[in-house]
Symmetry: C2
Subunit: 454 residues, 2 copies
């Protein structure tokens, strides 16, 4: 039985941080049962030439991992029949489950079915059920079906078609040297619809028990710092069969603990969370913008934004989900001092004395937005996003955020690192984090009751 090294916090840390760390705590060697192993093969010149980033492969790998499979290898090959067939044979010889994407289209450079037929030494034959599925896909859209599309129903003999609910190419399943090979379309939307529907139904029973997951969502904490803080806990967790892994999805870092989470009691979970203080904005699956939006709706507060360095990004985050008009009245981007005064009533003297990048300015912007836009709450950002424009007193990355409420105004000074886009996105997220912490602490609720008559 092959042994694979599972990832722990330290491992993930090393991949994205340049600091070589003293935090190393050892990795866990565990046995992966053969039946839990899987591989992913993506097909297409557009992948191998780097014209597109292979998000399908990452998505499939994450999906398999969530089901408890262990993806031991991924390959991408060009649209070339021998190369595809060879990769299929090599992967099928090693793992019992192989997911293939791409190459199911109607044109002559869509070669997946032909390559699998070659690999499995089967003839390619028109599959009546698959042909019917292609016909139906065209009928659904009321489009005349070109004859060329019948090619999408030419499958290796013995393959079982899987209906594609959103496109014309049926997926199919074929056994190759004992490995279950599933060929999926390369169009991400089609692939995901098939994977989350019929493929999930097929694999559910044989999937290794999907581990429970406990997630900490961190903002303003680097992976290396998180690894350092968690290092003393990893051996113990690992002995209980709980693996710790990191995912950095800029600007947040997600720490997941997978395994028999039930064996970690609530106090221990809270202890892990408390390691990060206000750096942990929550646990579970929902990311910060969705949490803010849910909390605002639940409390029926309205919000306005006043942005300088984030330049509209904060409003954009708040309007990403439909229904934002339930809480967001609007926002202002003020890139000049004149507009800060004209649209947000920031006093000229304040701008002259404190400057536009100051805590006082952030507070005045939030208060001005709350009043001028007529919202219960207002969030403001001002800072130096760089790369130019920094000085000794206002360096690049210095950002002030403020939240104005009927109860009063809260503000924070941030020192953010990274490129311009990182600083801007982080500033917007920190503003959301400030708002969420106030909403969740219920600090504003008592006030709201007294203000109900407004």
């Amino acid at each position: 039985m092959p042994r694979f090294r599972f990832v722990d916090a330290v491992h993930a840390y090393k991949c994205t941080d340049t600091r070589a760390g003293p935090f190393y705590s050892g990795t866990t060697m565990i046995d992966v049962p053969q039946a839990a192993q899987a591989a992913v093969l993506t097909i297409g010149d557009e992948v191998t030439t780097g014209r597109i980033v292979d998000t399908n492969a990452a998505w499939l790998s994450a999906w398999l991992s969530d089901l408890g499979f262990f993806v031991s290898e991924r390959r991408s090959v060009v649209d070339e029949i021998t190369a595809i067939a060879e990769a299929m044979r090599a992967l099928a010889a090693r793992v019992p489950l192989l997911l293939v994407t791409g190459g199911l289209g109607p044109t002559q450079d869509d070669l997946t079915a032909a390559a699998l037929a070659e690999a499995a030494c089967k003839p390619l034959a028109r599959h009546p059920e698959a042909a019917r599925q292609v016909e139906q896909a065209f009928a659904r859209r009321g489009v005349v079906m070109p004859a060329i599309n019948y090619k999408q129903a030419d499958l290796p003999l013995g393959a079982v078609p899987i209906a594609n609910p959103v496109g014309t190419a049926p997926a199919f399943r074929q056994t190759l040297t004992g490995c279950d090979v599933f060929c999926l379309p390369g169009v991400p939307r089609e692939m995901r619809a098939i994977v989350e529907g019929p493929l999930l139904d097929t694999l559910r029973d044989r999937a290794p028990a999907a581990p429970e997951v406990y997630r900490l969502r961190l903002l303003g904490v680097s992976e290396s710092l998180a690894a350092e803080k968690l290092a003393p806990y990893l051996d113990n967790l690992s002995r209980r069969g709980v693996r710790c892994a990191f995912r950095a999805t800029h600007p947040e870092v997600e720490v997941s603990f997978r395994g028999p989470i039930g064996s970690i009691d609530a106090a221990k979970r809270e202890e892990l969370r408390a390691l990060f203080g206000s750096g942990c904005y929550g646990t579970g699956d929902l990311a910060l913008p969705a949490r803010v939006s849910a909390a605002l709706r639940q409390k029926t507060w309205t919000l306005a934004t006043a942005e300088s360095c984030t330049g509209g990004w904060l409003a954009k985050l708040l309007t990403e989900e439909a229904g934002a008009s339930a809480f967001l009245v609007g926002g202002v981007v003020t890139y000049t001092n004149l507009l800060k005064t004209r649209m947000l009533d920031v006093p000229e003297t304040l701008l002259a004395n404190e400057g536009p990048v100051s805590e006082a300015c952030a507070r005045a912007m939030a208060e001005g937005a709350r009043k001028r836009l007529g919202a219960d709450l207002a969030l403001a950002t001002t800072g130096i996003a760089g790369p130019d424009g920094g000085t000794a007193t206002t360096p690049v990355g210095l950002v002030y955020i403020a939240l104005a409420t009927p109860y009063g105004t809260t503000s924070e000074q941030l020192s953010l690192r990274g490129e311009r886009s990182h600083i801007r996105l982080r500033a917007a997220w920190h503003a959301l984090r400030l708002l969420l912490s106030q909403l969740e602490a219920n600090r504003l609720d008592a006030v709201q009751e007294t203000q109900q008559v407004r």
Copy 2:
């Protein structure tokens, strides 16, 4: 000599569009010299489990393609010494150039050097020059070097270290069965610094002649439509050795023609461009937001934004590059009718009669923003981004954009397809496209002269 199918327009089209098309025009089979072939191997559980999207592989593939190499295969393997060594051997047997990323860190699960040593049947030995490079990396940051980091200088015997200008892990080069293997760090910033510096210097001489590129940048034209329009030209271009490829980087589609572009005269290039009319916003490397920003600076016009359905995204695009304050005074996001009236002077009667999603409202928003924010020009968006909120008269995807200038106001009605985020981003880009077309047509210049005294 292996034959590979190069990508043409039709090929790229099939990968991202669900329509099975009658546009197929055949692909070109050409011989790729052995010396021009390359492969990419990325190492790490974080890649195979899908916790991160493998942008390194895409970036390296694109970089190699730009140099004229043909990447015939990519693989990703877990941090497991046998799996890495086996992949190295398999790829090295096929291509003369192999780029490997990841696994150069100091911890025991960083196994790239050990795996290459195994693959090449060489002992692993501390390389004095590499050790000096690691020491220097720590000295540069004034950090005490942990002993564990000397592991980063343990290379297969015969390997040549390549200094890492931004991190601690030296890259290195080793010959494996006649293939030049370059092992690079997995941290993207470090990898790119080495690739664009010392690696480029090394490969420049042996790189196949990088083909010239002529690029059309399309907005509002699907890949399938572009493929259909270009189909009649592809055979002729292909005979001249010019390959046509697509890259869809939402929301635009980039069509690139690579090869002896000089053989296509200016009239022919213009003919290709004219196929797309106003759907082609430009040629060359610069994307739309950067073009708008350059044109505004050059003409010293100031701009304001007034956004409804784009919710801040337009302002965010305009402030992505440093120095946006040279032209952007600010913007307003008005999510309610009340704010449209209060902040942009949109007449209440207009909102009552025409509704907030109307051409009249977009025009009034732009004119109001221009006046209230005191800019030369103002761009406005209003529409239904969905997925809910559509009606028979204002369906999801209906968007109006307007540009107010001292000369008058221009507006357009758009019918955009896709998810909420697609509609929002496309709406913002179309607003930029409208602005750019007016700036480039010099329609505003005459007016500006008469307004110089303002």
